[in-house]
């Protein structure tokens, strides 16, 4: 504003708090240190405008030049020489009271009357598990072979005070998960490999911002569009590749429709316990497989955590973000995440052993291949070969403690996968980190592209292994 008055008038700064975005440039510009960052939130804008101590001000006008806002800091009109900045309290009424501290409302488990078991498709069992776990928010994008789960949810949730949104893509879906998990609410998505690839970016952000959410990846044949057959080639992705940065999430691998339901419920508990996404990794065959499923004796009534951005006064000051610009702060955050990962590794390993006692030959498999492996173990035992099945249920953290004790003294291991060896990689990595070096012989049986290993092949492979390893001592 140029003064038309001939007399040189020094402009006095006048602040309009509604237009100050608290950028602080005036503070830097002021040679007299009479401006400082405010502490009060402007009720109109939600920003914290600066405050000017006029007693120190010599009207140099540098702050006026520094202010980038057209209406923020302006020269006071000359005819208001005696203009006094008004106390915001007089302008806007009483200062807002500080919001109450948010409190965590715990989940409740309400008893269900005993129900008959049901015959369910795996994908449907997942959907029912989610509903029983108290999930009322579902975001999905259709993709075979996962869609039936979402379709059932689309029918169920509107009847149950919940909602289903078909997002415009998996990228949209994962960001809706970010928003919903950020509110402290239970949300889930079901997808299959190509869709899961698209969600990785969002998962990294959720892990960074420490937000819960349950992701169900019905793994299908890849790479690329591949096909809709069952594959286990996303194990690397879910265990080691959840987007960019230092990321991990608990990965649960069901092997029956019953586990599709049970582990879905577990997944929600874990997601909230650790404030981290949880991944369920099943395969295309399991999603379509029908089986008898017992329902739990409870239904979860979700509570509300104190950290969520729930949109009420209590949660007013919460913020979800994964951006931490100061390097040492981001390092601290990563160390905090590492501690969480360690806790998960210590407390959440899950596995199942079948006839591993006195076993000399251990088959390791998860998801659908574990079913063939179980049949094979029974057949092998019938033939007098002491075989057992070790089935990781958490793929990350790998159940290394159980694996170590199962593998102690065995002569040989056969890792059976419908994929390129990513389960074996997890096994070897876990053994190596655990300092186990006297490994038994490890062999492998793999299929790709939607082809499943067959029971007979497993029987033959173990028999061959048994014939080739000299009897007498563990290698």
């Amino acid at each position: 504003m140029v003064s038309t008055n001939k007399k040189k008038v020094k402009p006095r700064p006048l602040l309009f708090p509604h237009f100050c975005k608290a950028c602080g440039r005036c503070i830097t510009a002021c040679p007299k240190d009479c401006i400082e960052m405010g502490t009060e939130i402007d009720p109109v804008t939600g920003c914290t405008p600066v405050v000017i101590d006029r007693s120190l001000c010599n009207d140099c006008g540098l702050c006026l030049t520094a202010c980038p806002e057209p209406y923020g800091l302006v020269p006071a009109p000359q005819d208001t020489e005696d203009f006094e900045l008004q106390d915001p309290e007089d302008l806007f009424g009483a200062r807002r009271t500080t919001a109450p501290e948010p409190i965590s409302i715990p989940d409740e488990r309400l008893p269900l009357p005993p129900l008959e078991s049901m015959i369910l498709k795996g994908n449907h069992a997942t959907a029912i598990g989610a509903v029983l776990a108290g999930c009322r928010h579902f975001f999905g994008y259709p993709i075979t072979p996962s869609t039936e789960g979402a379709e059932l949810i689309a029918k169920l949730l509107p009847e149950l005070d919940g909602m289903f949104v078909q997002a415009v893509s998996e990228v949209a879906a994962v960001n809706m998960m970010y928003g919903c998990g950020g509110a402290g609410l239970r949300c889930m998505t079901l997808t299959s490999s190509p869709g899961f690839s698209l969600m990785l970016e969002g998962i990294s952000y959720m892990i960074g911002a420490e937000l819960p959410g349950v992701f169900f990846n019905v793994m299908r044949g890849g790479p690329g569009l591949g096909n809709i057959g069952p594959e286990q080639a996303d194990i690397k992705l879910v265990c080691r590749g959840l987007g960019h940065g230092n990321t991990h999430a608990i990965v649960l691998a069901p092997a029956t429709p019953q586990e599709m339901l049970d582990l879905t419920i577990v997944a929600f508990d874990l997601a909230f316990e650790y404030r981290n996404p949880v991944i369920l990794a099943s395969d295309g065959y399991l999603g379509q497989m029908t089986g008898r499923v017992r329902l739990p004796e409870f239904i979860v009534k979700p509570g509300l955590p104190d950290w969520g951005v729930y949109g009420d006064e209590m949660h007013r000051r919460n913020l979800n973000t994964s951006i931490i610009l100061i390097e040492p702060d981001l390092e601290k955050h990563n160390l905090h995440l590492n501690r969480k990962y360690q806790q998960m590794s210590d407390a959440e390993q899950r596995s199942d052993s079948f006839r591993c006692e006195n076993a000399e030959w251990i088959v390791i498999a998860c998801n659908t291949p574990a079913r063939m492996a179980k049949g094979a173990v029974q057949e092998l035992r019938g033939r007098g070969i002491n075989a057992g099945l070790f089935r990781p249920i958490t793929l990350w953290p790998f159940p290394i403690d159980a694996a170590r004790s199962v593998l102690r003294g065995v002569k040989g291991v056969l890792v059976v996968e419908a994929g390129p060896g990513q389960l074996e990689d997890e096994l070897r990595l876990a053994l190596s980190h655990a300092g186990v070096h006297d490994l038994p012989r490890i062999e492998r049986l793999r299929h790709h592209g939607g082809v499943l290993p067959q029971q007979q092949e497993i029987v033959e492979a173990v028999s061959e292994l048994a014939a080739s390893v000299p009897t007498g001592g563990a290698a």
Binding site: I143, A154, Q166, S169, L225
Partner: protein, 318 residues
């Protein structure tokens, strides 16, 4: 700097192409699917225009309609769900000599691919884009698409679609640098052919929305218009689609529309009279094409490139 040679043609003898030269695998769409007719029209145009198969590319995303490239005996790119337009733009940005046909579905283009669609229209690269609009996700078996009718019951909208549908034609007409927008119905081969031919000859991004029957999942949506031709409005003009009158004489509802008039085009696209409008809604061949920029330098000689490279390196010399 190390641009490709502009002229990629090999010295081939003049050839005559027959329909068989463009016919790929046996189309595995459902019997009665509208996609069959569009495929036939494109093959006919390729034959009539004598497009060398090796200079022709069918690009698609994922969906029933996106199986298109498998059925063309040309180059093909069956890409990612939602991303055929970036692929097609990639091709055009360095190979303006190729004839690009894009097949995309209403889910592929208007849902997961919507972000790409907006910018492909703005790029205005010379290609034909066929939007197979069957109002549904066909390949994944009956889920709501952005063009599903309000109330349409699908597997993901068991109580009927909640939102009003997106109108792809109107949307395209609202995008920056739009240059060609037409509509046709798959069940009129004469009109499909004439429309795609006009699209092929338009120098720019030719967007053709094809109302496509899916007898499997949305048999109802175009049923009335199929039975009663008066529910189809023929958009006519001397600069419009020139379809053989034998194929359009049953359409009694007609409107004279200058394809240069974008306001009226939008009005027609709204479809307020309840009719499906078929014909050319908008055309402006003068709009800038992005490939005119991206192909600059393709004809540089090796010496010119070396000189340019040296000049660049000189800037870093100490």
């Amino acid at each position: 700097m190390f641009g490709l040679k502009k002229d990629w043609s090999l010295d081939v003898l003049p050839r005559y192409f027959t329909l068989e030269d463009y016919e790929g695998g046996v189309a595995r769409w459902c019997p009665g699917c509208g996609d069959h007719g569009v495929l036939a029209a494109v093959q006919r145009i390729c034959r009539d225009e004598q497009l060398p198969p090796e200079k022709t590319i069918a690009v698609s995303g994922i969906g029933c309609s996106s199986r298109f490239p498998h059925y063309m005996h040309t180059y093909g790119f069956h890409g990612l769900h939602g991303r055929p337009l970036p692929v097609a733009c990639g091709i055009k940005s360095r190979r303006p000599d190729l004839f690009v046909w894009v097949a995309t579905g209403d889910g592929d283009c208007c849902s997961i691919g919507a972000g790409h669609w907006i910018h492909a229209v703005r790029y205005n690269m010379n290609m034909v884009v066929m939007l197979f609009d069957n109002n549904v996700y066909g390949l994944t078996k009956n889920q709501t698409s952005p063009t599903s009718k309000q109330g349409q019951v699908t597997n993901t909208s068991p109580r009927g679609a909640w939102l009003p549908p997106l109108n792809p034609t109107l949307t395209t007409l609202g995008m920056a640098n739009v240059s060609f927008v037409a509509q046709t119905v798959d069940w009129n081969p004469v009109h499909v052919h004439a429309t795609l031919l006009a699209a092929f000859h338009h120098p720019g991004f030719s967007f053709v929305r094809i109302f496509q029957r899916c007898p499997q999942y949305t048999s109802g949506v175009f049923e009335a218009a199929q039975r009663d031709p008066s529910l189809i409005q023929l958009v006519e003009h001397e600069r419009g689609i020139q379809a053989d009158p034998a194929g359009t004489k049953m359409y009694t509802t007609r409107i004279e529309h200058d394809p240069g008039d974008i306001e009226q085009a939008r009005h027609i696209a709204h479809g307020e009279n309840g009719c499906l409008s078929i014909g050319l809604l908008f055309q402006d061949p003068e709009r800038p094409r992005y490939e005119d920029m991206t192909t600059q330098g393709l004809d540089m000689t090796t010496e010119e490139k070396v000189r340019a490279l040296e000049a660049e390196f000189d800037r870093f010399a100490i």
